[in-house]
Amino acid sequence: MPLLELKKVFKAFGGLMAVNDVSFQVDKGEIFGLIGPNGSGKTTIFNCICQFFPITSGDIIFNGQSIKGLKTHQICQAGIGRTFQVVKPLARMTVRDNVTASAFCRVNGIREAQYEADKILEYCHLDMSSAKPAKSLPIAGRKRLEIARALATRPTLLLLDETAAGLNPTEVDEAIALIKRIRDDGITILIVEHIMKVIMTISDRIHAINFGQTIAQGTPQETANNQAVIEAYLGEDYA
């Protein structure tokens, strides 16, 4: 049984069909990539999974149960963690407090939550900045903070939204290493990414979309050589 399944999901905003009949399955333990050019609907799909707004039709099944009508915080409690494309640090709180607040999802009591937070900060190489206000972190730190916050909720499935965007090559490598470590520790990952290097090297399978519709699905190799994908990214001339 797949961990996450999207069944014929449609999402319309007024007259615009942002997600148009998208279906895919994510198996436990894999890193599943979602690619597509800007504006193709990737983040919208994430927002649908997290129920930031209701989907127009179709179903989303997590761990065998439909999560269609749940509220966003319930989805998190069910085991889906998420990072945001535009990072949203809780700016005026310290890095440690950011993660502590998140840890309360699974533990009660301040000591336990802080202990959890410290462990995760170390795991994400943020322990040196733990007492600083979140807004003082550079972009790479903020991206790691997004992940740390999501990890504190002990997700079974982690949704990563453009984690490598805006990072320099060294930082990108670090991000890849972190993601692999997370997967090795048993968390399934659904990753949206723009940067080919990242997604091609770490994904087990890839789903490509354009204009809200599926255009290809398969292994990284297969997808990279796919006609439609090349057209979408580079234009018809390169196909």
Binding site: C50, T72, C76, K88, A101, S102, I110
Partner: protein
């Protein structure tokens, strides 16, 4: 550190011994009012400074608390002191409704809705004469002739309020409130039931404000809709008290209450009788100017901008 503790200890002792040291009715009255505003300001601060929901209608809760006590006395024939226990609860009930209506709104819409709420309650109190005596107001006979008991009740109330808020903010709830303030969508994605926690913050805030209102009824002996549901002198004053002292700090509103009440009173009494009469009439004007000044220069409050203020006084930089 020891000097710090000693200072706080002295301040505490001063407040406890105050009415005995200063037997003047007038000054005791002033400090009682200050203490009442410590409660209202801190309560507002919990909802707005810490949880980010800027209410422009806290008069709702103050007035409901005051009228609960008053109506107990006039309509039910029981002592208004029961209002002290129930004023907070009545305010919480009203808060649930206010939250249901207003929390679906964000930012300025929320502020406006609460402002409108305050006005609606004022008009309700004015027009529902069979319940509230309308513009005539409610008059009761005060239980104590001396101000001492009232002083200590107010002091107890203020301490309970500030300490409660202090402990709440140190707990899981505190983390959740601030997370909601910083980014509500992110908070949801972190597993925080934002609707629930906004309401919890509101309920606590309303409870203490309502209790302050009930206290006011018992202490002053007279209320009417204009006084307890006043936009400027209750709702806006609550905001100013918190801002002047420092929103999102625990002791800020306490400092702010002190400053705001004293400044107001200085002008209302024409510098305690030392200045010509017309100064007194200008006290409302001063209130307006104070708002402008505070927003323009002290938006993080005395406690919040403490470093900036200290810097002004120590020229050697």
């Amino acid at each position: 550190m020891v000097a710090h503790r000693l200072l706080w200890g002295l301040v505490g002792l001063f407040f406890i011994a105050f009415p005995i040291i200063v037997p003047s009715d007038y000054y005791q009255h002033l400090i009682i009012i200050v203490l009442m505003w410590v409660v209202i300001g801190s309560s507002w601060n919990l909802l707005a400074g810490f949880t980010g929901q800027i209410s422009f209608g806290h008069a709702i809760f103050f007035g409901v608390g005051a009228y609960t006590a008053g109506i107990f006395a006039t309509k039910l024939g029981i002592s208004a002191w029961w209002g002290l226990a129930c004023g907070g609860i009545a305010s919480m009930a009203v808060a649930l409704f206010v939250g249901w209506v207003c929390f679906r709104l964000r930012g300025p819409y929320f502020a406006l809705a609460t402002l409108a709420g305050g006005e609606i309650f004022r008009l309700l109190a004015t027009n529902w004469e069979s319940l509230t005596e309308g513009m005539v107001g409610i008059l009761i006979i005060q239980t104590f002739r001396s101000k001492l008991p009232y002083y200590y009740i107010a002091l107890g109330l203020a301490l309970t309020c500030v300490l409660s808020i202090h402990f709440v903010m140190k707990s899981k709830w505190g983390y959740y409130f601030v997370s909601i303030r910083e980014d509500q969508d992110t908070a949801e994605a972190m597993g925080i039931d934002t609707a629930l926690y906004k309401n919890i913050s509101l309920l606590i805030s309303a409870f203490f404000t309502g209790t302050a209102g009930a206290f006011y009824m018992n202490y002053m002996g007279f209320i009417d809709p204009e006084v307890v549901f006043h936009l400027n002198y209750i709702s806006i004053m609550a905001i100013l008290v918190a801002i002047v002292g420092g929103a999102a700090t625990i002791w800020g509103p306490a400092v702010g209450a002190f400053v705001m009440v004293l400044v107001q009173e200085t002008f209302r009494s024409a510098f305690f009788g030392l200045a010509p009469k017309w100064v007194s009439q200008g006290h409302a004007l001063v209130f307006g100017l104070l708002v402008i000044f505070v927003i323009m220069y002290l938006s993080n409050g005395i406690v919040g901008d403490w470093r900036k203020i200290k810097g002004i006084f120590s020229r050697a930089a």
